[in-house]
């Protein structure tokens, strides 16, 4: 008897989650405002998913395209797409099954409703890892990100670092051989001797690029599935700004920061070196665009004051290019720049809030 009752309650959060997924619940307002906007967190998160769609679709195509190019398989368009789907689908299954299972369990432990945050995190993680990542590694990384990156802080809304980036950082430092080099970026080629699928960023460290700027802008280059296509990311950026979910201030200031450091580097560069690569090309190489649009702008972990957003974004852009240019051991700086600025975002906000307090204290009042 007792066991049965308990069994019923273990899945309360899960049942509630599925019910509220189907229906907007019949809950009515109890305190405060009697009417409420029909905007809820499910809608917020679905808006981000919609913005991610162009990137995902392009990623599916590019996985097949890069494989075809490297293997010389002579595949048609739909064959390439099908190949891409087969490659990326397992990553998504692992990401969502592991991540959501932990979310549901922790919601149950806390007695909360299941939070929608992982829908976005789970969508992003497969887009920012190498396509050849072993699934068990991905599973461990997702578990680490959700438990240590988010749930220990109290769940969505309370976390300090972007959970998707925590997953990537975990993989980067635990399994570096699977996260860098020339062999992990093109599907189905890692076992082929003598093959090099170097990303533009890796090439750039030598000062020569084998891909044109247009190719990098469109995204037909090797790399993490989601990061290659600047144009798909730009569509996503437009949608996020239009929906009002992400801050254009962070995106713009991050671009400004990257260009500032990049052009400074150009000014001191000798021809043919990494420093000489035009600064604007940093915007279309590597994970800069994806990080700026989808991860730096995470409303939970970014700076939350309006002035703070300008500082936060600028530093992300600047730090990214500094890491890229001045640390030859690290081709990509985006992940570390965002994680570092996530850490400092509360500090930036603290100073902005303090200035608000000072300004409010100084206000003129009517003389008595």
């Amino acid at each position: 008897m007792e066991n049965k009752e308990k069994k019923g309650s273990i899945f309360d959060s899960t049942i509630e989650a599925f019910q509220s997924f189907l229906h907007v619940p019949a809950t009515v307002t109890r305190h405060g405002s009697h009417v409420r906007d029909c905007y809820d967190l499910k809608r917020v998160m679905s808006a981000v998913l919609v913005a991610l769609l162009p990137t995902l679709l392009f990623a599916v195509y590019n996985i097949g395209y890069q494989h075809n190019l490297a293997a010389g398989a002579g595949m048609g368009f739909w064959e390439m797409v099908w190949y891409g789907i087969l490659k990326i689908l397992p990553l998504y299954i692992v990401s969502y099954v592991v991540g959501l299972a932990i979310e549901f369990a922790s919601a149950q432990i806390r007695g909360h409703e299941v939070n929608e945050g992982y829908l976005v995190t789970g969508m992003i993680i497969p887009l920012i890892v190498p396509i050849e990542i072993p699934l068990w590694m991905l599973a461990i990384a997702v578990a680490f990100a959700v438990i240590i990156g988010k749930e220990v802080f109290g769940g969505t809304g309370m976390n300090i670092w972007n959970p998707a980036l925590i997953a990537r950082a975990f993989l980067f430092f635990s399994y570096p051989s699977h996260m860098s080099g020339d062999k992990v970026w093109v599907a189905g080629m890692s076992a082929v001797d003598g093959f090099s699928g170097a990303t533009p960023l890796a090439e750039a460290t030598t000062g020569t690029l084998s891909h044109s700027a247009l190719e990098m802008f469109i995204g037909l280059v090797p790399g993490c599935p989601g990061e290659t296509s600047t144009i798909a990311i730009l569509i996503g950026a437009f949608l996020l700004i239009y929906f009002g979910v992400a801050s254009w201030k962070i995106m713009l200031s991050s671009v400004i920061g990257a260009l500032a450091v990049g052009y400074l580097g150009n000014a001191f560069a000798e021809p043919g070196t990494y420093l000489a690569i035009p600064a604007w090309q940093h915007l279309i190489m590597g994970g800069f665009a994806f990080g700026t649009v989808f991860m730096a702008t995470d409303p939970v972990t970014s700076a939350q004051t309006e002035t703070g957003k300008w500082i936060y974004g600028f530093l992300i852009g600047a730090l990214t290019v500094i890491v890229r240019l001045f640390n030859p051991g690290y081709p990509e700086g985006m992940m570390l720049a965002i994680l570092l600025m996530n850490t400092f975002a509360p500090l930036i906000d603290h100073y902005v809030v303090s200035s608000n307090i000072k300004r409010r204290l100084k206000r003129a009042t009517i003389e008595k």
């Binding site: 229906h23 009515v28 405002s33 906007d37 969505t156 939350q304 009042t365």
Partner: protein, 459 residues
């Protein structure tokens, strides 16, 4: 001197059922009630018993801590019921009204010869003092401390709010008298805020001896707290009195006729009102008198019951009093909406929801800016932690960071609450933040707990 202030932030909520300028009913209610719960922070002490006969203006209860502050009966009759809640908390004192109201007579000297002490004494004794609120906190001010200013908002931007130019069209003399009395207490410090759209033609513009401020902007531009923030901000230690403009007319009647005449014209609006308009009534009347003015619901095909929520006040800040409840002391409007206790299949996932309004552009209601919506009381989501933190400041036209203030309250950090502006806001000022919140955070409830804590700690 006229001071023009343009406010860009805010939101006019497009709820259906806007009151049209016509009197749809004059209400003579059988019972009236005076509710201590309408006054924030009040610990009441009853001074009548069930069965006592009272006149309009007879004290019903007093403030236990400041016994000079009295709360008087709106009508004459017999105390019929004293309603108590948990721990015997006094909730309502109901009065069965006489068919003809008899007034308690007050000896009122002419306003010109009035001394500040006499003015205060009369306001306290007649119960009119209870209509004054102070910033900070929105509580009844102490008679011993004079404010740095008195501020009155001459318009309301709340959803379905009454048009004061209409409701007060015959009360200009009363308001002028009340302003003169207040000027006796605090000379040259009475401010009135007017709406930029109507100030030129407004009857309130004819009031003499006050300073006008013109506000241009969406709700909450009409909130007295927002106006004070831009005209005479409340810092630590400051006190500003605020008085509802309709109550000013009631104060004026006391000094012109020597009686407590609590009658007023209020707005009746909302999707569940048959012909939204105005009703003449006396404060504290029973809402059972308006049951014949309600409309049936054709909002959504509901499988279950489809009750009406009777709100004394506006839909953002009012009180759910129930169909047999009573009009709140400070309220100038009644809003009737549908109880939204229904499930909407795939609600959040629909690409468009033509019957729902959202400020967010993930829905498309911004394409139909003049459309009015039959809003109901559904929460439209579930409670979550703060996630989307960038939107709240867009609906608060004050130099205050609402999320940081709320977090300071949740952390019970008195210093931070002070610094971040708790002296300047009361619940109604953050109501729009609550309305738009996708995480469904109870801004007003949290702020109210913060204010209670401040009162307790600073006492």
């Amino acid at each position: 001197m006229v001071n023009y202030i343009k406010l860009r932030k805010g939101l006019n909520i497009p709820i259906d059922g806007v009151p049209q300028p016509q009197i749809i009913k004059s209400i003579v209610s059988e019972t009236y009630a005076l509710k201590p719960t309408d006054f924030k922070g009040l610990i009441p002490k009853l001074v009548v018993r069930e069965g006592d006969a009272v006149l309009a203006g007879t004290p019903i209860f007093i403030d236990k801590q400041r016994p000079e502050i009295k709360f008087t009966s709106p009508v004459s009759g017999v105390v019929s019921e004293i309603v108590r809640g948990e721990k015997r908390k006094l909730l309502e004192v109901r009065i069965k009204a006489d068919s003809q109201i008899e007034y308690r007579k007050f000896d009122v000297p002419s306003v010109e010869s009035l001394t500040p002490e006499q003015a205060k004494e009369l306001l306290l004794e007649s119960g009119m003092w209870a209509g004054i609120q102070q910033r900070p906190y929105g509580i009844i001010p102490s008679p011993d401390v004079d404010p740095k200013a008195i501020y009155i908002s001459g318009f309301s931007t709340a959803p379905l709010a009454p048009d004061y130019d209409y409701t007060l069209r015959d009360d200009l003399d009363n308001i002028q008298t009340a302003v003169n009395v207040l000027s006796k207490i605090v000379p040259n410090k009475v401010h009135i805020g007017l709406n930029a759209l109507t100030h030129a033609s407004s009857i309130l513009h004819k009031i003499k001896g006050v300073e006008f401020h013109i506000f241009d902007g969406p709700h909450p531009a009409g909130n007295v707290g927002v106006q004070i923030h831009h005209v005479c901000p409340v810092n630590k230690g400051d006190i500003v009195w605020t008085i509802d403009i309709q109550f000013l007319a009631i104060i004026g009647r006391l000094f012109r006729k020597g009686i407590c005449d609590y009658s007023k014209t209020i707005a009746l609006g909302g999707p569940r009102v048959k012909n939204p308009g105005y009703i003449r009534c006396i404060g504290g009347f029973s809402l059972s008198n308006i049951s014949d003015l309600t409309a049936s619901d054709n909002l959504i095909k509901l499988q279950e019951n489809c009750d009406i929520r009777y709100i004394s006040g506006d839909v953002l800040t009012g009180t759910n009093v129930g169909k047999d409840g009573f009009l709140g002391f400070h309220d100038n409007q009644i809003s009737l909406i549908t109880e939204g206790n229904y499930k909407e299949l795939f609600g959040w996932a629909k690409i468009i929801r033509p019957k729902k309004f959202s400020l967010s552009k993930t829905y498309f209601s911004w394409l139909t800016p003049s459309k009015r919506y039959k809003m109901d009381s559904n929460l439209n989501g579930g409670p979550r932690a703060f996630v989307l933190t960038n939107k709240y400041a867009d609906v608060l036209p004050m130099d205050i960071l609402p999320v940081y203030l709320i977090k300071a309250i949740l952390a019970k950090d008195i210093d931070k609450m002070e610094q971040l502006g708790i002296y300047e806001v009361i619940e109604e000022d953050l109501a729009l933040c609550e309305y738009i919140c996708p995480s469904k955070i109870e801004f007003q409830q949290i702020l109210s707990e913060g204010i209670e804590l401040m009162i307790k700690e600073m006492a």
